[in-house]
Symmetry: C2
């Protein structure tokens, strides 16, 4: 079946998380993503892992997560010969993506103006931590730093403990989605007008945009968020919204539901006196404690069944292993896999969006470093002799499956 972005070619200089997740999303939709890695070691994320362990003994789970459906070519970007080749490729490309620190790639001759000179239709998307100018332009931009700067971190956790970051790279991942948003908007515009353009995405601005309702609240209501001293689930929310313990040591979430329905369902009529909005906000920690005493009388699954029967908005708190076996996750086919030449069968997350005409799909594993260099250059008309010369000079490296 067709893919939505079939025929779109992306030269992808990006590394780490933000850029690679963005180009994977585009690749899932059928774009031809040519991942241009550093000759030799490739994307720095190949050296990143959890638990000091490696998939198949050698491969990074982080890299495997964000680089399927791409082909890789590993080049020495400082070589003039390589520069000439990439500019030839750019004539036939639609999009360039990069997330080096501001100015780094332009210094090597791969800035927007360089590509525009050979292909005015090019869409060039840069990702950075803090944008391409301003007081922080030289600072390192990293996910947790951005969560802290933007206010997500201060909004997370308990008031009687230090604040905590969200346990996943939200700023990076939102940055990736913003790249996709900018690129696809620009692609539509180019279809209409023939004009390419430059897009700048940064992690800090993206994180702020996702905190829009918290900012609009604080900046217009004249009150600051104070983290609750209990399991209340957001510093702006009243009880019972939050996370509760169960008898068997589990946790459940309870969101917006009429408080009366909740205390009746828990057989706890003594909670009735708290049932007005002002009290549920001002005494939220005390109410949380009292509700928690009740939820701890039930095992997790019994409690959930009882509450769902009463149409209370609730759900289990799963760790990742348990979530992977959740009936709805399984039903949706969200745990997929691909075969990787070194890592073997790799379990990954399937595309999240369903489309009736152009379903996204997993068609390739994450590539080895420069695995497809030779075939890519041949497709762009480079001769076998030139390819051999590039490799001999160390300007292109090719990792082959064991």
């Amino acid at each position: 079946m067709d893919k939505a972005l079939s025929g779109v070619t992306i030269l992808d200089f990006s590394h780490l998380l933000q850029g690679p997740f963005a180009t994977q999303l585009l690749a899932d939709m059928g774009a031809e993503v040519i991942k241009i890695e550093r000759a030799g070691s490739g994307d720095m994320f190949r050296g990143m892992t959890f638990f000091a362990k490696w998939v198949g003994g050698s491969e990074s789970p982080n890299f495997l997560a964000w680089n399927r459906n791409k082909r890789s070519i590993a080049l020495n970007l400082k070589s003039r010969r390589v520069h000439g080749l990439i500019m030839e490729m750019a004539k036939k490309a639609d999009i360039v993506v990069q997330n080096f620190r501001p100015g780094v790639l332009a210094k090597l001759g791969y800035g927007y103006e360089d590509f525009r000179a050979v292909n005015p239709r090019i869409i060039y998307c840069s990702g950075s931590g803090y944008g391409e100018d301003g007081p922080y332009v030289e600072r390192p931009g990293q996910d947790m730093l951005i969560q802290g700067l933007a206010g997500l971190l201060a909004n997370t956790g308990r008031g009687d403990m230090p604040p905590v970051p969200a346990g996943s790279g939200m700023a990076d991942q939102i940055g990736a989605m913003n790249m996709v948003y900018g690129i696809l908007s620009a692609l539509y515009y180019r279809e209409k007008t023939g004009k390419g353009q430059k897009i700048e995405v940064n992690l800090l601005a993206g994180m702020l945009a996702h905190l829009a309702q918290e900012y609009v609240g604080v900046l217009n209501l004249g009150e600051d968020f104070v983290r609750p001293n209990s399991g209340i689930g957001h510093p702006g929310m009243q009880a019972p919204f939050g996370v509760y313990e169960t008898k068997d040591g589990g946790y459940v979430t309870i969101a917006m539901s009429p408080f009366r329905t909740l205390y009746e369902t828990l057989d706890a009529p003594h909670l009735a006196p708290y049932d007005d909005l002002a009290t549920l906000f001002s005494q939220r920690d005390a109410v949380w404690q009292k509700v928690n005493e009740e939820t701890k009388k039930f095992d997790r699954d019994d409690l959930l069944e009882r509450m769902l029967d009463a149409d209370i908005w609730c759900a289990p708190v799963n760790d990742i292993r348990r979530a992977a076996e959740d009936p709805q996750v399984t039903h949706m086919g969200m745990i997929a896999s691909y075969e990787h030449p070194k890592a073997g069968t790799v379990k990954v997350i399937a595309p999240a969006v369903r489309m009736s005409e152009t379903p996204p799909a997993i068609e390739r594993p994450a590539p080895l470093v420069g695995e497809h260099g030779r075939e890519i250059l041949k497709e762009f008309g480079v001769s076998d002799d030139e390819i051999a010369a590039l490799e001999a000079a160390g300007d292109m490296t090719v990792e082959e499956a064991r």
Copy 2:
């Protein structure tokens, strides 16, 4: 200047957060978003707020945050006359967006097949909590519930305390980005082929996709994340990655940096024995304690200056009010405002993505309920008499500025 999505018309049945954020992102890029609200009270999110306060005494910060650049028409969707009008409008529209519970809108005659029958080019995007089939299809889908189900919540917070949700509606907001991703991919495909399609986005699948590296780690490395009993910033990370206290009661984040550089910068050579990856992981809580003893010897800004001079990846932890005054946030112009007829000057977050040819912009405040109903219907050729009849029957309501 042009906008990237100028000329694209969206019939937006969505409410609450996921759909409205998606259509605001499209509206910022120039799409003409017609927000179709319930006659009378409008979008349920108009009744949502923080701190039990209202902007200008009456307006919801949550609604104000996600609905700029749209016009509103408030209609009784159960009226056959209204149904006929909307189907006429659909002939000239490009995209329909909705996030009612699965099946609700189709029962009223506004499903994909209904729109497709009058306009085969239509792109119809549905958002839901758990998708449109499967064991959870009848369950309430809400942001915190999804964070809990998908594993983000269990991955956030300390091991010696219950887990906590991220302090912002990440699942909803990521759901919005996935709508944008699907819609713009489909729009490009339609430009190429003339074909519309149906897109399904759900919060659970979107959240899983953002946890891809955590899932790939757990499912392929055979180890589970265990939340740290300290300020370490991610359950998969080693020290020093985390949040640290300062002498003046502030916090800083410290991300990936050579440990040696850190202990030298802190004048703490006694930390040298911990400097290998295995130890920094296995003894991360102890190392965090020791580093934290050092960071508490400095005031926040002094510590940051010292660490930034040594190129240590670090940043301050800001609350939202402080973040709004951050020099880089200010430099980027991220705190913007619009004039609202009832709320007055409303501070909001500016568009996060910069584009050289088609910069997104804020051109309208969030609308009142049905504020633009009459002008919208006139643009679609409805007569004054018909409009008056609709209003007289209560099938359309118009809120006017005080």
